[in-house]
Amino acid sequence: MRYFTKQQGQKEAVPVDLEALGGERYKLTVNGVTYQVDALALEHGTMSMLVDGQSYSVEFEENGDEVGVLLRGQVSRFDVADERRLRLRAGTAGFSVEGKQLVTAPMPGKVVKVLVKVGDEVKEGQGLVVVEAMKMENELKSPKAGKVTELFAKEGTTVENNAKLVVVE
């Protein structure tokens, strides 16, 4: 089965071919290199992974479409989808910053400042909304250059995690 993975900050998706060998064993091919992987899934989203005699204790954290992987103190975040899911997600923003971008609240908090209005042209990285959480103010930035087409954020209101704030198109 072919999977597509995109690491945070990467532009192109990397294809990974996976063949289940039964039990916890898999054959994985990435960038032309094939690995034999023994991956024992454990409680609490942890995994004991053996590759070429090396032992890796892996911890996972799922956040929407993204999987956070903690391995020997290094955290990597991947968006992983198989071909079928990728087709389903075509047209949405999962694998690119093209098209319509919805900026959501990354944590529960309070909208203390809205820096844009509908119709504003914004640059990539420009501040859109300031959300306060845990006594710190966090400026949420535009993922792309474009125009603000929808605005859900209202100053002084509290928002839940993943609440819609701004759409940039």
Partner: protein, 506 residues
């Protein structure tokens, strides 16, 4: 002064638990206070008694003096320990405690008045002959005034909350164009955190070290210092890593700074635990920054190298006892503390409140974890993101770094994102390892500290991520109606040594 029998801890989180631990060891009963957001918090369970004080926002609960005093009276507490933050540096609260006949475990209101408001502290220190950083001695009223003064002393400058600490209401301003937004956010953060939006200006020194001296004074006029802490690893003026001894201090400089710190404390008739913060410039000149009139977050490193329990010492001093030592002890070995925050360094340190689904805390020789969390605990959105302080001790600095790294490698927090990997990147950074880092270190090295990635490990993480997604999807497919059961018979394809491994595993 009578012996203290019951202490109300007017705080939450790790510091409340830290204070209660010592109280227990001293045979003193403890009372917790809690807001609606903290019913399930660990400090409530650690205490002998617990009293509700109001809604989640601290301004409506932990900061309401009358509620805290009422809780003390209702529980029969004869003393209040304020921890750090909240009411710990509030002189009017100290007076209210005195009026109510309750011992405040901390300095007298007069010393707080003299040192609490930063602008007044500067004026007092100038009078006492202590060197200070150039800046205003009064809070600035308007942005226009700030603009004018900043241009007079020249950029970069620092905006600082007069009533503040902990990096809140503090902004470094590089150029005039940035002043307006910095002014606005500094003032609003100051108001939200301290209920006082007064802000003043200081000249920003280039590449300074933040070195602070722990002082202790009793009611008999004895004042000593307990050496320094190096706190230059700061992000947005919030300390992230602290250590003692400071890698830049010579014994001569230590004793000179210690003397000045003692002089500063004496100038305001200080009592109890306090910290005099200095900036040390590249020429090893040092300037008074401010005095924290309370116990500090980073006190464990001092405890590691002096062998003292600072909370116990605070209580004894509050009971009127004399200090057990009358000169600074030589620092023994080396200690490092790292602050574990519920935040995501990869996403501009976005706070990450939420439920901790799994927690594995480090152990082993000379490792200490001061924490207020537990598995299943939901980190609330309304308080500081610090969830734990990990500190270690070792005979030398190099060994202490290795031990801190080892301990962090054992630390697993799931359900929320933490800065653990970021802390490891700091400890591995050559500037830190060499002990050659100033207060600009974390800001300057922001990208490096984010992106130290081993490509081999990234590849392994990629494999793990794909397998994880595959296993997850297979599990989901199985639960769908009509799903084809996944084949589990693979024995014929598994090698003999793998099979033997499997059977051993079972």
């Amino acid at each position: 002064m009578p012996k203290i029998r019951k202490v109300l801890v007017a705080n939450r989180g790790e510091i409340a638990i830290r204070v209660m631990r010592t109280c227990k060891e001293l045979g003193i009963a403890t009372v917790a206070v809690y807001s609606e957001a903290d019913r399930a918090a660990l400090h409530v369970r650690t205490a002998d008694q617990a009293i509700f004080v109001g809604p989640p926002p601290s301004r409506e609960s932990y900061l309401v003096q009358q509620r805290i005093l009422d809780a003390a009276k209702a529980s029969g507490a004869d003393a209040i320990h304020p921890g750090y933050g909240f009411l710990s540096e509030n002189a009017s609260f100290v007076r209210a405690c005195e009026a109510a006949g309750i011992t405040f475990i901390g300095p007298p209101a007069s010393a707080m008045d003299a040192m609490g408001e930063k602008t007044r502290a500067r004026a007092n220190m100038i009078k006492a002959g202590v060197p200070v950083v150039p800046g205003t001695t009064e809070p600035i009223a308007t942005e226009a005034e700030a603009r004018e003064y900043a241009q007079k002393i020249g950029f970069p400058i620092m905006l600082k909350a007069a009533g503040g600490g902990g990096g809140k209401g503090m902004r470094r301003v590089e150029k005039l164009e940035d002043l307006e937004s910095a002014w606005r956010s500094a003032k609003s953060e100051a108001l939200n955190s301290f209920g006082n939006d007064a802000v003043y200006i200081e000249k920003y020194l280039e590449k300074p070290h933040h070195v602070e001296i722990q002082v202790f004074a009793d009611t008999h006029g004895n004042v000593i210092h307990l050496n320094e802490r190096e706190c230059s690893a700061q992000r947005r003026h919030q300390k992230v890593v602290e250590e003692t001894p400071s890698p830049i201090l010579t014994p001569e400089l230590r004793s000179k700074m210690g003397e000045v710190a003692v002089k500063a404390a004496k100038a305001v008739n200080y009592v109890g635990a306090g910290t005099v913060e200095f900036l040390v410039d590249v020429h090893r000149n040092f300037y008074f920054l401010e005095m924290n009139t309370r116990l500090q977050v980073e006190h464990p490193v001092t405890e590691w190298v002096t062998g003292l329990d600072l909370v116990a010492l605070q209580i004894k001093v509050a009971e009127g006892e004399k200090l057990p030592l009358l000169q600074a002890p030589e620092p023994q070995g080396h200690s490092i503390e790292v602050r574990v925050y519920a935040e995501d360094p990869a996403r501009n340190f976005m706070p990450s409140p939420g439920k901790i689904t799994y927690l594995r805390v480090p152990g082993g020789p000379n490792v200490r974890d001061d924490s207020g969390v537990f598995p299943g605990y939901t980190v609330p959105n309304v308080y500081d993101p610090m969830i734990s302080k990990l500190s270690v001790w070792a005979p030398t600095r190099r060994e202490a770094i290795a031990r801190a790294q080892r301990a962090l490698s054992e630390y697993v927090v799931k359900g929320i994102t933490t800065n653990i990997r970021y802390l490891r990147a700091i400890l591995a950074h050559p500037e830190f390892v060499e002990g050659d880092y100033d207060t600009g270190f974390l800001g300057r090295e922001h990208t490096t500290l984010q992106g130290v990635e081993d490509p081999k490990l990234s590849e392994m993480a990629l494999l793990a991520g794909v397998v994880y997604a595959h296993q997850r999807d297979a599990k989901r497919a199985k639960t769908l109606p009509g799903a084809k059961a996944a084949s589990s018979s693979d024995t014929g394809r598994v090698s003999a040594w793998r099979q033997s491994l499997r059977s051993r595993r079972r």
